[in-house]
Subunit: 337 residues, 2 copies
DNA sequence: ATCATATATGTAATCGGTTACACAACAAGA
DNA sequence: TCTTGTTGTGTAACCGATTACATATATGAT
């Protein structure tokens, strides 16, 4: 059943039915009633596809997130989807799994599906292909909002966190607790947050007059397995660190896995602080100190920012780049006792 | 830039461009080259909307999940999205938050967006409105696949787990460990898994000749807060249970929260087993016994089932209803020592 | 040489809505 | 009474693809 067929059974034109469905233009009360009755009777649901083709408005936004199984990202999506639903926007979701090809597929999909806007946590901040495509998309009138990870040049809008300051403060907590042999398990080179967190680490050390020991810098990839190996590597040094700063929640879990398997107690034999909180640990009062932020709120903020752009229809001269606040949550693992 | 404009600049018809884009029909090699070159030059991306309108095929599936922040569901989505991506399907995602209105919105969206199929974990198995709409959707040729939660009547296809058997075995482990005063924190009345898990609990007790004590049955809602209160209620009984069966992962976390706050050690002062594993606890070797299943695999299975229906274009006479396997993982919390 | 078939391309209808425009009826103000 | 504005509805173009059908040429078989 389409709008024309329905109109015919009522004895009006499709234009009138359309006016009733959209509450636009003039329609006599009596006519409106007839139409609504027929809509009900035939369970008529207008094709959003046809509507989109005609109005060039899809009421849909694209969301690309690396790993939905990472609780930070699932909270972000939860926030995004909450606001999207409240405002009648549909979400086209994809998980990149840190795969650049999937990211490209996503960006192509955005264009072909004529999505109204996108929220994306890009795989890498360096990827020129991604950056150019994003610029192209934005230029074509589709607003782009980044979450968590920036893109080189800082030209896009987005909702981030002050990774440098947060990490600096976090590492400072380790220093204040008396540590000097502080290691870091970094994120991937291509990740802006990873690099900024590394910068924060270096800043904290340098401000405290502690020389950076290259042996204490090991490259992780924000995943559990690698972090486990990194931890192993660190603890097998002739002079192992007394504290570790882990660059994200999965990295923390990799550390904890190693510690657990080797019966090493955090806060006793080793200290650590991690970036991003881990809900389950909070609940069982597991004493992991972290640099925490409200991920769901970050998702909401991203969607709200996108909504503004969708209303404005104008790209602001200077991109709005927000930071969500972070908290240094010290639960004991930052010190030794 | 649309297909006609592009065609004009090349000096061919839109039909020819379409043939090149879709690799269909006959096109001279030379012509094909010209078209591809122009596509490249003008960055032409055909409108999927127009295509969908014409072919009545959207290559999109809808996914409705209650709570993406629950790691069980985020793993399910991860599995769904993995298979969807591999097969070129887009995902329209919504989180119901256990809200029936959002569920209705989702089902309306499915029809209006002319999605090819849907995967849904319904809010309640009892809701007649939802059931009727799902039947209507299925009858209109859009295959429906359920995940985790069934709908009364068992008429839909889906991928579940044998909640009754799993729970029975789980509770049995408590019994074998010597418990007789075994409590359950149930799921909501409207949830089929919740009720089946309760049935499994009752079956295990009855098979062991243990009489069911109504005081030991408290109603949870699959959320942390309520489970916390339930645990409190149970432990404040004159004769508190010695073991608790918690109906899902969040319920387990609620219990653990209470235990932690009150310095009660599982496996020592109290025993418990929970339905669904909790990844973080696994990693830190926290001794929680659980009835576990592979959530990601369940998501993959659901999407694969949907893919079959999308290929067949026919609904099988009897609905395919699969169960993923479960494992009873005993880590110590099922006994006291 | 003739006919059948394969190759190559264009024309135009179609998918199912929205909306600019035309037209009519009617009310109110001059 | 005439003008103007408001209300109510229909006609048809349009959004941007796909594809059935028509047509034309090249190829090969007989």
């Amino acid at each position: 059943m389409n709008i024309k067929e329905l109109a015919k059974t009522i004895g009006v034109s499709s234009a009138t039915v359309s006016r009733v469905m959209n509450n636009s233009g003039y329609v006599r009360d009596e006519t409106r009633k007839k139409v609504l009755q027929a809509v009900e009777e035939y369970q008529f649901v207008p094709s959003a596809i046809a509507r989109s083709l005609s109005t060039r408005d899809t009421l849909s936004v694209g969301v690309l997130i690396p790993d939905i199984e990472n609780e930070y990202f699932s909270s972000v999506i939860s926030g995004i989807s909450e606001i999207a639903e409240q405002n009648g926007y549909n979400i086209h979701f994809m998980g990149s799994n840190e795969n650049k090809q999937i990211e490209q597929d996503f960006l192509n999909m955005v264009e072909s599906q004529r999505l109204n806007g996108i929220i994306i946590t890009p795989v890498s901040e360096m990827d020129e292909r991604t950056k150019n495509k994003l610029l192209h998309i934005q230029k074509s009138g589709i607003p782009v909002v980044l979450v968590d990870r920036d893109i080189k040049g800082e030209v896009f809008e987005g909702v981030f966190v002050d990774n440098l300051a947060g990490s600096c403060e976090g590492v400072n907590a380790l220093i204040k607790a008396g540590h000097e042999r502080i290691a870091i398990i970094t994120g991937p080179e291509t990740s802006r947050p990873g690099r900024d967190r590394f910068k924060g680490y270096k800043k904290a050390l340098s401000e405290a007059g502690i020389e950076l020991n290259p042996e204490y810098v090991v490259s992780g990839d924000f995943k559990i397995e690698k972090a486990y190996e990194c931890t192993e590597q660190l603890l097998n040094l002739k002079e192992p660190p007394t504290a570790i700063f882990s660059s994200n929640n999965l990295t923390s879990l990799g550390c904890l896995k190693y510690f657990t398997e080797h019966k090493i107690k955090i806060g006793k034999q080793i200290s650590m602080i991690g970036f991003d909180d881990i809900e389950t640990l909070k609940i069982i009062d597991y004493k992991l100190s972290v640099i925490a932020r409200d991920a769901k709120q970050q998702g909401r903020a991203a969607m709200n920012l996108l909504l503004e752009r969708l209303k404005d229809k104008t790209v602001p001269e200077s991109p709005v780049r927000q930071n969500v606040p972070y908290q240094i949550v010290l639960r004991g693992s930052e010190k030794l006792k």
